[in-house]
């Protein structure tokens, strides 16, 4: 890939590497899910991953914060290599925020407590300070007035925005999104995407697994297409949608863009 094919604005001119994945393989039992992934993500870079279900895209980003363990190759996250070492893994997880398809908020805690749990217990921030931070972040995702409600009392879109806020409270260097809008009703997708776009404007390094192609077009520096556990195609959004190079990509795009 040559430098000129990427959109340059918003990216760090010094090309600091944030995540480096080299020759990474993963198996679920006998099943070979990821077959030799090579991927370098720069600081402030935004990547959208798409592909048919079962192609391994979720597994790939779950490997980056070690929710899944890879069996061959290496993953280096901001200079820390992910190996079988609890301290390393916990350090990486503190730096990587993750947003799930099904929000996974803590239903027994109210919104504010959901947000302050990490800062208080992991970062050892004083309670008052953590709550100020949480309120600030809640305002950013336009949901500050719900701070004392419980997750079960919010709509899906609101819950997902809280989930994003919960990750942001840990002040992460990278945000991973695992199909953040696919469990939402259509009218709620936009409010979540808007929050993600704002986040992108602030220069957050993001890897997003999604089929929201509008989002990919307007926000991503690169779009990756995965199939059968491999990165099949990788390009700027413009090129990716206009001139997909491979048959499988064309077929996939024709299925999701009507």
């Amino acid at each position: 890939m040559n430098q000129s094919s990427r959109t340059p604005e918003g990216r760090n001119p010094e090309k600091e590497v944030m995540i480096e994945i080299v020759g990474m393989h993963k198996w679920f039992g006998e099943f070979h899910v990821l077959k030799g992934i090579d991927l370098t993500v720069e600081k402030r870079e935004r990547i959208v991953i798409c592909g048919p279900s079962g192609s391994g895209k979720s597994t790939l980003i779950r490997c980056i914060n070690r929710l899944e363990e890879h069996q061959r190759g290496k993953i280096v996250m901001d200079g820390i290599e992910l190996i079988n070492n609890l301290k390393n893994i916990e350090r990486v997880r503190q730096e990587v925020g993750m947003v799930f398809q099904h929000f996974n908020l803590f239903p027994h805690l109210d919104i504010l407590d959901n947000l302050t749990l990490g800062p208080i217990w992991v970062r050892k921030t004083p309670k008052k300070e953590a709550e100020d931070l949480a309120m600030h972040v809640l305002e950013k995702v336009h949901i500050a007035e719900q701070a004392r409600k419980y997750p079960g009392q919010l709509s899906g879109g609101q819950q997902q925005r809280v989930a994003i806020a919960r990750s942001l409270c840990m002040n992460p260097k990278v945000m991973l999104f695992d199909e953040p809008t696919s469990a939402l009703d259509p009218e709620m997708i936009k409010e979540v995407l808007d929050v993600m776009i704002e986040l992108a404007r602030e220069g957050m390094t993001m890897i997003v697994v999604t089929h929201e192609m509008g989002f990919a077009k307007s926000v991503a520096h690169r779009v990756l297409f995965m199939d059968y556990g491999q990165i099949v195609e990788e390009n700027t959004p413009d090129e990716f949608f206009k001139n997909p190079r491979y048959e499988r990509t064309k077929l996939f795009l024709s299925q999701i863009l009507h």
Partner: protein
């Protein structure tokens, strides 16, 4: 043209009187169809035959304070078996003139329990109050300092003994059970195997045999001259037994937790201990409140099994009174009385668990 708004949209109509309130309830629940009507009438007839004589026996023809002779002449219940022997039933062989001490200890316990009912009052200070209170209770019971005469624990009995065995039994078994449940789900094979073996072994034997083992077999293994208090041995047996059951119930709750909760906790960097303490256990333990309380209630009642190793708990002191020839034959009254005491204990536990469930379900 705009269609006209339906007229009744903003005016509420109350449902017919026969469908709400007491009348509605009676119609719906008691006289709903001929079968229900028949059953209702039958039950009313049955109650009308049973309640009045029972009431007469319990309250009108009964003797509340009197000698056994008066009791035998009366046709009603002989409550004087309770009133005349109350102190023995409640305190067993505890020295008669010192019985204010177990009474004071029990009042302290009840005081602390009722203080702890409200979760808003749970604090470090209350924890210290419990610590201090328990020490003070032990001191009151045992004596030997500050001019209080020493009372051997072999003389402890009655209600204080029952409460001692259950309060310590339940409070120690609960955390132990949680640890066992976590151990059984551990990824470390040794810990997992140990917990599985422990739980299955304990669940495989009746409590009675554990109590026997504690009181007869266990001392055989101790070196000459060392004895361990009998109450303590029974206490340990009860704790070990109850913990195994708690463990299985808690494990059920842990299995009910979705994978996503673990992942969310891990992804914000919480370690295993914090994930369990802050995210998983609060939810899992709440789900299993009803079965947990069932176990605690049955453990409370099972403390009465210590009679078989000759500890004089509430049940045994009552039976001793009944074996006194003067009071022989009034077992109905005596058993009704201790059933009432046990019921009060169990009912308040059940009641508290319902209150707790309600409070914890706020916002969900």
């Amino acid at each position: 043209m705009q269609p006209e708004t339906p007229r009744n949209l903003d005016q509420e109509i109350r449902p017919p009187v026969t469908h709400i309130g007491i009348i509605g309830w009676i119609r719906e629940n008691l006289f709903d169809g001929w079968l229900n009507t028949l059953l209702t009438l039958l039950i009313v007839y049955f109650l009308s035959r049973v309640i009045p004589p029972l009431f007469r026996w319990m309250f009108i023809d009964s003797v509340w304070v009197g000698s056994p002779q008066e009791c035998r002449q009366a046709t009603g219940a002989c409550w004087s078996i309770i009133t005349a022997n109350l102190r023995f039933i409640l305190f067993g062989f505890y020295p008669y003139n010192q019985q204010w001490r177990p009474l004071a200890a029990m009042l302290m316990l009840f005081g602390l329990l009722s203080l702890s009912r409200d979760r808003n009052r749970w604090s470090k200070r209350l924890g210290y109050a419990w610590l201090f209170g328990l020490l003070a209770m032990g001191f009151l019971m045992k004596g030997g300092f500050f001019g209080l005469s020493e009372v051997e624990s072999s003389k402890w009995g009655g209600l204080p003994l029952t409460l001692l065995l259950s309060v310590f039994g339940l409070t120690a078994a609960y955390p132990l059970g949680i640890l066992l449940a976590l151990g059984r789900r551990s990824k470390m094979p040794m810990i997992k195997a140990l917990c599985v073996v422990y739980i299955e072994l304990i669940r495989g034997v009746p409590l009675i045999s554990l109590l026997f083992m504690g009181s007869i077999i266990f001392p055989l293994f101790l070196p000459e001259g060392i004895t361990i208090n009998k109450i303590l041995r029974a206490q340990v047996a009860i704790i070990l037994f109850t913990a195994a059951y708690i463990a299985e119930v808690v494990r059920g709750g842990l299995q009910g937790m979705s994978r996503g909760q673990y992942e969310a906790a891990e992804s914000i960097g919480l370690n295993y201990y914090l994930t369990m303490r802050l995210v998983i256990l609060p939810q899992a333990l709440k789900i299993v409140i009803p079965p947990t309380v069932s176990i605690l209630i049955s453990a409370f009642k099972d403390t009465s099994l210590v009679v078989i190793i000759a500890l004089f708990d509430l049940l045994k002191t009552t039976q001793s009174v009944l074996s006194n020839p003067e009071w022989m034959g009034f077992s109905k009254e005596a058993y009704i009385f201790i059933a009432l005491l046990y019921f009060l204990g169990c009912f308040s536990m059940a009641n508290y668990s319902r209150k707790l469930e309600k409070e914890l379900s706020i916002g969900r």
